[in-house]
């Protein structure tokens, strides 16, 4: 099982990829690592921060794995993509390159994690036509308190740099 390292504000968290459930998504994410950028806090789906993928790292992947409904658990890492035609208006300054398209890694860091509405977004789900994809591909095991605290600080203090790396076996 491959592992990912998340670094945020001097804190770290390790996630295990779900290679056995969504191998293609895991491969695609793995191949763009490392990625970094300014993490932004969710405003619909509770305790979630997101890292938007930029430039050559933008991923446009098809759905994979079981259809998810309902809650997203603390520690879940979701690959999310939304077609430009699905969003009203431009997405904002953090991803000017995308305008209306979203390609991101979403980290659900806390409890309660709510319904994960942005990641699943049943009201605007375009999954049947592949206009929107939300694939759970990794989970942080035992989220370090300091890491969760740093995630929460994003909504109090604004954007913060997040780095996602491969955690190689020797690391």
């Amino acid at each position: 099982m491959r592992k990912l390292l998340f670094e945020l504000g001097g804190t770290r968290a390790v996630a295990e990829m779900h290679d056995d459930v969504v191998p293609k998504t895991c491969d695609a994410v793995w191949n763009v690592l490392p990625v970094e950028g300014m993490a932004i806090h969710a405003n619909w789906s509770s305790r979630e921060i997101m890292l938007h993928l930029h430039g050559e790292n933008i991923l446009r992947l098809p759905p994979e794995g079981p259809v998810r409904r309902g809650t997203t658990a603390p520690g879940d890492i979701v690959y999310f993509w939304r077609s430009p035609q699905m969003s009203r208006g431009k997405q904002l300054a953090y991803s000017s390159q995308f305008q209306r398209e979203l390609s991101e890694l979403a980290v659900f860091y806390g409890d309660p994690a709510g319904g994960g509405l942005a990641a699943d977004d049943p009201a605007r789900s375009g999954r049947d036509s592949n206009l929107q994809v939300a694939t759970l591909f990794a989970t942080i095991i035992d989220i370090p308190k300091e890491f969760a605290q740093k995630c929460e600080e994003v909504r109090h203090n604004g954007l913060q740099r997040l780095v996602v790396r491969r955690l190689e076996r020797s690391a």
Binding site: N43, R88, L92, G158
Partner: protein, 163 residues
């Protein structure tokens, strides 16, 4: 309504809501016909200088926590979806939610909806909120300042009587 109710022919009272550090403000009309008791209670608490934070469940909405002793019963409860510019009062009692959302096990707050795609809700889903005011001018600039909180975090919010 009691005989203390204001004459409905008198123009509604107005409040100014501002982000002083941004030099941004908007004017809102109190909905005294539909939400008289909440309007009255809030009017008498003004001016309020509070810390506003962006909501994480509801969409395009910011909120400010008040003193927890400022408890008002539900009134003019929002039926379903608010419109941009709606301002509401909300109270959740001690331990209403598991844990302490926003670091508080109990919370009295004012919420401001600044764009569409918004539904006041918490961890359990939609919440009943008392709609007591609506922004009647300068919403666009104020909305941009609210949205900016996603990127820059909390801001001081000033709510004043507009005599």
């Amino acid at each position: 309504m009691s005989d203390q109710r204001r004459d409905p022919h008198v123009l509604s009272r107005k409040i100014r809501i501002s982000f002083p550090d941004d030099g941004i403000s908007a004017v809102a009309d109190l909905l005294e016909e539909d939400c008289p008791n909440t309007c009255e209670a809030i009017w008498h608490r003004l001016p309020l200088r509070v810390k506003a934070i962006h909501d994480i469940w509801s969409g395009h909405q910011v909120l400010a926590h008040l003193d927890n002793k400022f408890v008002l019963p539900p009134e003019n409860v929002l039926t379903y979806l608010p419109i941009p510019g709606d301002i509401f009062y909300y109270y959740r009692p001690h331990n209403y939610f598991r844990g302490s959302p926003y670091g508080r096990s109990e919370s009295a707050e004012i919420g401001i909806v600044y764009d569409r795609d918004t539904r006041p809700q918490g961890p359990r889903g939609p919440e009943a909120v008392s709609l007591f005011a609506n922004i009647s001018s300068s919403l666009e600039g104020f909305a941009r300042a609210c949205e900016d909180m996603i990127y820059r975090g909390q801001k001081d919010l000033l709510i004043e009587k507009l005599e």
